[in-house]
Symmetry: C2
Subunit: 113 residues, 2 copies
DNA sequence: GACTTATTTCGATAATTTCGGAATTATCGA
DNA sequence: TCGATAATTCCGAAATTATCGAAATAAGTC
């Protein structure tokens, strides 16, 4: 991951509602959630939620898939892990335990609902 | 770590110069760097760098210590790890490999230059 | 004390981000 | 095709954040 992408991901996450949304999705796992479920949980006006989702999307922190009238959103674990790795890169002059971060993977890639 | 602190850390890191500064410090290890060294590396006017450092300080992402005329700044690895842990908390409904993050520790706490 | 270097605070201007109502697009079922 | 539901785009006022010169503070040297 290069700096630009990391910055985009970090600014995306540096907002109350977006951080909450992302964490909900991370905890929801590979099944993700619909925009509507998210909207209800976070209690935001639709336009506001969409604006936030667009920022998370642009940062590639979430994925989208339309399922009929509903849009299903999922956390992008690869991008999340890439961000964590970026932050800790070459940590401590390489002298200490600084393995490349490997934290969370979606169970089987492409798992559906 | 609670949400408020995580948010503060994320916004602190979501800026070009601050991210660069923090990563320099992470890579510098427990020895840290002086504000002056940082200023030269990042090529920023003193007032601007101080403003950024104040934000990283408020977020507890860095520590300070005055050494004579110089101020030595160090990355706060505990806070960094807490942030990573916060982001991945309860990842994937606990179904997959989601161990609490443990990424980087300062070699011996309190090591001085 | 006078001088030098290191860093911070102040404060004013400039740039960016946030919010959300209203209008719009997409999909489905009848 | 019509009506309902889901989600998005548009856009501009309000709030927040960034930038940095100039003045101030801190510490060391002579």
């Amino acid at each position: 991951m290069e700096t630009k992408a990391a910055l985009e991901a970090l600014s995306a996450l540096s907002h109350d509602s977006r951080l909450a949304a992302f964490r909900q999705l991370v905890q929801a796992g590979p099944g993700g959630m619909s925009v509507g479920e998210l909207r209800e949980l976070l209690d935001l006006p639709p336009a506001t939620l969409t604006a936030h989702l667009n920022i998370l999307r642009a940062a590639a922190l979430v994925h989208d898939e339309r399922e009929g009238r509903v849009i299903r959103v999922r956390a992008n674990y690869l991008q999340m892990n890439a961000l964590l790795a970026y932050l800790t890169e070459n940590c401590c002059e390489g002298k200490v335990s600084c393995d490349p971060v490997s934290v969370c993977k979606p169970s089987h890639s492409g798992a559906s609902r």
